[in-house]
Symmetry: D4
Subunit: 210 residues, 8 copies
Amino acid sequence: MSATYKRLDKDDAVLLMVDHQSGLISLVQDFSPDEFRNNVLALADIGVFFELPTILTTSFDAGPNGPIVPEMLDRFPDAPFIRRPGQINAWDNEDFVKAIKATGRKQLIIAGVVTDVCVSFPALSAIEDGYDVFVVTDASGTFNKTVQQAAWQRMSSAGVQLMNWFSVACELHRDWRNDMEGLGALLSNHLPNYRNLMTSYTKLQEAKKE
Amino acid sequence: MSATYKRLDKDDAVLLMVDHQSGLISLVQDFSPDEFRNNVLALADIGVFFELPTILTTSFDAGPNGPIVPEMLDRFPDAPFIRRPGQINAWDNEDFVKAIKATGRKQLIIAGVVTDVCVSFPALSAIEDGYDVFVVTDASGTFNKTVQQAAWQRMSSAGVQLMNWFSVACELHRDWRNDMEGLGALLSNHLPNYRNLMTSYTKLQEAKKE
Amino acid sequence: MSATYKRLDKDDAVLLMVDHQSGLISLVQDFSPDEFRNNVLALADIGVFFELPTILTTSFDAGPNGPIVPEMLDRFPDAPFIRRPGQINAWDNEDFVKAIKATGRKQLIIAGVVTDVCVSFPALSAIEDGYDVFVVTDASGTFNKTVQQAAWQRMSSAGVQLMNWFSVACELHRDWRNDMEGLGALLSNHLPNYRNLMTSYTKLQEAKKE
Amino acid sequence: MSATYKRLDKDDAVLLMVDHQSGLISLVQDFSPDEFRNNVLALADIGVFFELPTILTTSFDAGPNGPIVPEMLDRFPDAPFIRRPGQINAWDNEDFVKAIKATGRKQLIIAGVVTDVCVSFPALSAIEDGYDVFVVTDASGTFNKTVQQAAWQRMSSAGVQLMNWFSVACELHRDWRNDMEGLGALLSNHLPNYRNLMTSYTKLQEAKKE
Amino acid sequence: MSATYKRLDKDDAVLLMVDHQSGLISLVQDFSPDEFRNNVLALADIGVFFELPTILTTSFDAGPNGPIVPEMLDRFPDAPFIRRPGQINAWDNEDFVKAIKATGRKQLIIAGVVTDVCVSFPALSAIEDGYDVFVVTDASGTFNKTVQQAAWQRMSSAGVQLMNWFSVACELHRDWRNDMEGLGALLSNHLPNYRNLMTSYTKLQEAKKE
Amino acid sequence: MSATYKRLDKDDAVLLMVDHQSGLISLVQDFSPDEFRNNVLALADIGVFFELPTILTTSFDAGPNGPIVPEMLDRFPDAPFIRRPGQINAWDNEDFVKAIKATGRKQLIIAGVVTDVCVSFPALSAIEDGYDVFVVTDASGTFNKTVQQAAWQRMSSAGVQLMNWFSVACELHRDWRNDMEGLGALLSNHLPNYRNLMTSYTKLQEAKKE
Amino acid sequence: MSATYKRLDKDDAVLLMVDHQSGLISLVQDFSPDEFRNNVLALADIGVFFELPTILTTSFDAGPNGPIVPEMLDRFPDAPFIRRPGQINAWDNEDFVKAIKATGRKQLIIAGVVTDVCVSFPALSAIEDGYDVFVVTDASGTFNKTVQQAAWQRMSSAGVQLMNWFSVACELHRDWRNDMEGLGALLSNHLPNYRNLMTSYTKLQEAKKE
Amino acid sequence: MSATYKRLDKDDAVLLMVDHQSGLISLVQDFSPDEFRNNVLALADIGVFFELPTILTTSFDAGPNGPIVPEMLDRFPDAPFIRRPGQINAWDNEDFVKAIKATGRKQLIIAGVVTDVCVSFPALSAIEDGYDVFVVTDASGTFNKTVQQAAWQRMSSAGVQLMNWFSVACELHRDWRNDMEGLGALLSNHLPNYRNLMTSYTKLQEAKKE
């Protein structure tokens, strides 16, 4: 019994960054702060690199949840930015869903804070509406590992695909030859050990030329 | 292939608190005692806040298992309280099932001690009887993480949805505007870091007014 | 979509203890030795208590794998004991399968060493032959947690139910009133903290009588 | 070679609560938020129960570090509260040291956020000035376990005694008969499993009387 | 509901070793380096022992990813070795798929670095093309446990079977009598504690003969 | 700079078992219940085996702390058993210290519940009084690992030697030839994997004789 | 018995960055790569911010160990850079020790890769030569946590002070008022959750002004 | 206060390999079997490489403890091999101490199984007799991490230096130039990721020459 491989396609994918707000992020404890920040920015850089239509949304960003982290606005100055007045599930916000529909795309790449609510709820709603949903597990954070695992299981059972930012990048890119330097720079910026490999390699190549 | 999103609805949900007894809780080691107590009380407060029909049950509470923890009776003084004379699976107790049927609701939110028995058995029975079942993983405890994981897997494979108390609250609430202060108070009481966000925010708002 | 609850029935269950041999057990590192020994003996005591037809089997027990641990022979002196001459999957041994068929039962409770092979292989074969299979995760051991998790996932995907010895006991027993003292003794012998609850309770009851 | 037992004495001890501010606490990740909140409040309740002279201090509490958590002011409305204008090491603040000297006591019980700075620095300074210093490890938090361990080691090497809130309470109390109900209440409020023991015990005692 | 047991068959299986390159392996942190090296070599030795058709592939091995580790070339000097010029998913490389088809076999045993990309992508593609896919979890490595778990879940949901090198060896071998010394040597070389069992056993057998 | 090796001597050692009570033990979470029970009983068996003068003590054993676990009374029916009326530090109880002095011995082996109080306090007092103190870390339990580590550090800094039950047994025994079967039985009863080694060995020896 | 507080002084401290080379860093597994990179750069930024005399050194940087990571050269273009021709312990290299002596300072802040060798050896040598040594534990990495712990213990026993980059910054800075914005920027760049606190705070301050 | 750096000197060091026997090693669970085997062999290879006088000893190697692992005899065919007839502490065996004295050396490098007994006891005895003792923590194994930590603490408090095999190698070697290829080969054989660095480097160097 074979299954269809739901494969990310850069011409059919939308990136949804949900509730990466300064207050909410301080609740995240299933990743170390350094790792989480790096993962979120890596995913944002993927959106920029592949020119994915990207939609930002926040929940109550004038209150304790805090404003969206400025790195999002820097990277996506022109993206639709839906500041939800109260809906917890972004899918309950018409503007958010309209913004998605306006892209005409059917693959949703979702990351957010917290995983069990801000990611999970729209992911489940989107599945119901017929979208293919790819949750970026390491750019989504929550209170602790136990909550993380339960949320993953609920989403996976409903048909959500669990990915990580690196596999999103690779599945979108398909072939290094599409832009070798571009992908290399992306990896170098967000994978310290890959950067080290490149540093060692480049040094030796330079030595070679001498 | 899209799937229906089984979404908690505060008008269709019942809360079942199974065997949160003083003796049995002392067996729980997959959560630290502080975390577990907080999670259980958070879930109970959710029941009160959303005015969910709630059913309490215990197993042999005059013996070593110990009495129900008093916080349950305090919060749910009028709830049906089924003291099972021997049935391990609460679903084998007619009064328990009758109490559920009397609510006319089809969504069961279950938490209890221990996860692999007192939660898992009625959850599986309820699925078979056509209910939608939502197990609150972090308000349910057991002997260790290995037992926890096996029990989660068994329930998930049978169609149980794994949730945590925070996502239960958010899925029931739907929109902050339904009762902003109420939900805020609930979170503040049970999420220390959310309380901190509110403390910082309020202080700055006050300073602003001066 | 409701699912049938595959529920252990003491009149339809067989206990299969696979390769609990002194050499092989020394390979187990996903449980501490104290925990593992306790879990295995608890499961064996369950077999005795519920008078389950029980089948023992070993692999090459005259070689480095070592003999079956003596506690098995002590508890099940009359059980069929299949010393496999070479088959790794016990299901490939005709005598083993015949011994199961001879019981006329359809629910298989399996535990063994190592989980990914000695448990997993016959579990998958039995599923294919139409049995209901219940693997006792904490009475089955293997090299490390990573191997354990992969083996659990493979079995669960094929329809195996993952349980632990305590939930097996409770699901078989159904109602404390069937034998209160018997189950109490079983738990007291294998759950140190339950024994503590009973000690405290008994002491206070005695004080009461004075 | 015998050593003097530096033993807490409720008539010679001062409690120093350093920088338990709403912003700083959100940085703590070496304890779960529930555990940390409980530990800090338990220590504060110890201060109240033993009527220890208590000194509160904060660092920049009008800025991002946030205000002192309100529970401190509630419990210690009359305590000296030193809002440091800039000194990172509270010992560099003259008012803070004066407040300590004013008590005439020589045993300092210190807890704070973060362990490696706000606790460690004054602890080391106090040792140098001849005080006996007792750091409450579980009411002091920091970024992660690695930082925690290095800070503990640095302090311990300098002669700081590492304790936890429960051992502080017990060493101050000396004998249950000094106030059985008082200590019982303290433990019941902050040790969920001790509360469970008391619930079971009380229930059985009541049953006895009937 | 019974399921077919997809069982490895040494006459129908192909071994695919994907991107075990000196640079990429240095990125692996979900296994300790000693464990990972041992697991990879154990799997390679399985390929040799069972004379499985084996296909090697690398990604950009003249760049920072580094050359294939020499142990692969030593063990499989005649295997097809596909040095992919850019395709990230090996299945996108025609030569790679052709080499598999040329074997006429339908069971793919896949291991590689990193799990979430170099293993996961061809595994999902192969499922779609009707192959049975067995991923060797402990001979595949990636950045951390969180990424590992998400990748396992994605593959498992698509029908991939998760195995470990030891279970692969045992499922292929079926019966110790097929080559007792051969399998014994394989285990002795890669399971230090099994080697210890054999050492103890052999010593005692020798003593016996004297 | 050489240091004197403080070495346990079976003719100079006393065993102090402090507060191993059914209620208090249920608070222990730095060991799994199975491990902890095994460790405590192993240490008790060491006391019996080496005929060490042994002193039992409890704190409030008619209240929630619960009675001493019956295994202690079974093993040491004639030992001084000091039921402290209120002193938390057993060293504050004159009868306890007198019982120790009556033995004329200077080496104290201490284990108890909880480590940071019931063990730590008398250990520190005894050091001050000139005794050599050996705390049995794995037969002493407390709330969690963090508390355990702080308590160990406090005691170690004061000159307490940290040991485990196995090293206590070996240091007292000195030479297997003093009683080979006796020590073998002790280890076999409390080290499951050592029991396995003996099972394998004995079986092969028997086979040899045939 | 009071001890002198060895306190970092920005006018007496030297920063030694030892062997942060692209190859060697890829061996580090006691920190996640993201955390380690952040910690190392934070420490380097501390050196720049406090204008500490800084000395760089590498071991065999033309070979497999790889070149120094470029971020070091960027931050310290004029620092003495000792490329050791073979000495493993940097203290065995005369130029390195001379460079330190040339600063006339007596407090050494050391970080490097790997902790147990490249950090530990010069730290122990420097202690012997009368320096005060402060090892930055989280900017020093090694093979795994076990090696880390043994190395810390060895150094701590010899009188090395174990610190982390954050406590180094705070101990050097002494008082926020010395440069509030400077320290704020340093923390914001390397503590994601502190950055979040500042984002929330600034936003609210801005709102206030409106 | 400066301390003398006790530094390993290849002309003053002896290597003591204590009880690395096939049965005893199967008890080790504080390291994975692959890691432990690698660490032990790495240390043995260090002995060979630096031509250290080496002494082997076993305890009851004809019984359940099992024979010495053959790799030791292979590497040290001419080393004194003391098969102790019963003494648990090797230092109690006169032949063992004589063999050490015969070397005229004063630095003892000790590793063995189990850490808390077979390593700890002779280490403490040797300190008392005036030797400098270096325990190789990662080539010494025991039952679990808790036992490991207590044993480390006991030894460290007595003046034992805790090292790991890699730091032993580096401290003995002092300078790469003493034998660059020799040390490189040693590291390559026992540090998989260092081998990877060398593989990448060599490949690039070869490419350079073409």
